[in-house]
Symmetry: C2
Subunit: 377 residues, 2 copies
Amino acid sequence: MTSASHPHPTLCVEVPLGDRSYNINIGTDQIDSFGQMLLATLPDLSHALLIADAAVEDPWAKRLTDSLAERSNQHGTPIRVSYRSVPSGETSKSVSQLSDIWQWMLDSSTDRSSVLIAVGGGVIGDLAGFAAASYTRGIRFIQVPTTLLAMVDSSVGGKTGINLPTSKNMVGAFWQPSLVMIDTDVLSTLPDRAYISGLAEVIKYGVIDDAAFFDWLDANAAKLVARDDEAVRHAIAESCRSKSRVVGEDERETSGRRAILNYGHTFAHAIEATAGYGELLHGEAVAIGMQMAANMAVDLGMCEASLLSRQTALLRACGLPTTFAAADVDAMLPVMQRDKKVSHGKLRFILPERIGSVGLVGDIDPAAVIRAIKSCR
Amino acid sequence: MTSASHPHPTLCVEVPLGDRSYNINIGTDQIDSFGQMLLATLPDLSHALLIADAAVEDPWAKRLTDSLAERSNQHGTPIRVSYRSVPSGETSKSVSQLSDIWQWMLDSSTDRSSVLIAVGGGVIGDLAGFAAASYTRGIRFIQVPTTLLAMVDSSVGGKTGINLPTSKNMVGAFWQPSLVMIDTDVLSTLPDRAYISGLAEVIKYGVIDDAAFFDWLDANAAKLVARDDEAVRHAIAESCRSKSRVVGEDERETSGRRAILNYGHTFAHAIEATAGYGELLHGEAVAIGMQMAANMAVDLGMCEASLLSRQTALLRACGLPTTFAAADVDAMLPVMQRDKKVSHGKLRFILPERIGSVGLVGDIDPAAVIRAIKSCR
């Protein structure tokens, strides 16, 4: 699968975080030269740990491992590779899986000069990232996202963590990777529904941050759905640029700026928590949540109705759901009131003002929330 | 127990860490005005969680809780207080205890505006500190150390963490407190052996960083052993000043500077790991470890023999052990070779050059390590 020529240049997006800055490389045909790329970033590397989602073990994690195991570092020392696969799915983001990983890292003679590489979607990135953040109080970490959702969202920005039995992402760390390596070749094994789900987060960046990108998405929706290589890479790069800008301005969610990334997500989390596990993919819930938020913004007179219709049309053109008939208002509202981002029990939402611009609106009347949910049933 | 007048002024040491800077307040008679002091630092506080060592629940944690529960914040909102005691001893620094604390924090409706207060020695500070660092990716944290060892060492500098079954402090975070509140009144319930053990770390600062402080300790050893109030506070403040300086220069152990705080500790950890749990207190092992390190420095021609004799005399004057007849050379050496601070299996030690100055010496011959251990049997 290696090739001598690269018809498509690798795109590079920098996440600007001072001494924690890092690059996101977006390209194709990089898997088998991963070892080389890694040594360019970490020339002293002598021990790499790979944690991979079991679903991408063959062929992606295996090829990455091979590409590492055949390299030596700047001192001529061969890279020692430790490998572990983790079952697919949200239930792996548990205390017991994390605890097993810590013990495995210890048994693998991991020290602060080791690097941990996450190969998978958001579950693996979050879990492995927190293991990297906490083992000996922090070792270096690399993200190799294998889902579109992880490429445009979870692998960028340094949020890591696990779930508690009754609450998602309650425990974790802000821990930035040293590198994010995105190879769109890996999307070839990603099922259609999961791929389309990832497009919801892509469209989100157009709405919250970048009107020109929204226009481009409008014009290129069909290409994206058909997984046209160049369009996909462009969409990923623009998404990463938006996310990097926001994260660079508010790394630890202290100024409130980073909250704009949660557009549609307060609704989405409530949908996911009440609809039954596995009913909807995360991106599908985000698409519906964005529709609820846009409906609310129109309802409250914050934006024009044309925003909602343009968003609806783009989501549909990408094959994403825009309504959810089973939305359970009575169950969703209490979940939203317990949300981590709620301040003293008051409901706050990221709402669009126009395409490319959103604002945080506090102290929303629960009746408006109920209307927004019902508008999408 | 409250008093209207403060015969001894509160000493204040700043830990200089940019936007993570904080104060260490060292005083007396502060327990019952803790709520007031806390609100001066965190005026918006509305929820405080106390985690206390079961051994200091009565009276210290109870009085701290009372002093909090009777206050209101700047908005007139009463402070809600959640309380949890943790069994004394190193075994509480476990994954299962941490996991229970996370769930308790969730059940207590903890959010990012809450503050977690650790009341106890190093075990509680390390455990609660990591819980604070990781819950919702980090909430505010206050240290109220109740042992001399925690006052002069573990409560300052932001190292938090837990143990894995076969290895101490393998998992954690660098997470700085917002405030360290040291009230020497609490030492009145600290047993003599634990108090004396804490003096080993105090003496360490004289050897590694501050010759004038070493001279002062030499002249005031009897007062310290007798727990003279003013002498104790001065010794704590000088120790915190030394530690703050070092931590301010190398918060995350990246430059190597912070390693000087490990003077005597590579030996001490090996003694603790091989002597059988509970045989020696940590400070006692550190005293013996400092003797082994000083012996090694003299042996290698790094410093004059008078340094060793002055250190020996001061440790003895404080009632600390300077030899350990049961030291098991064959068991200790492999433990030291697995130490977290070992680089690629090579033995490195912090060794004294003169009183007030130490250096990191790499690639030490195991034979010299064996001689150093045997010199203290």
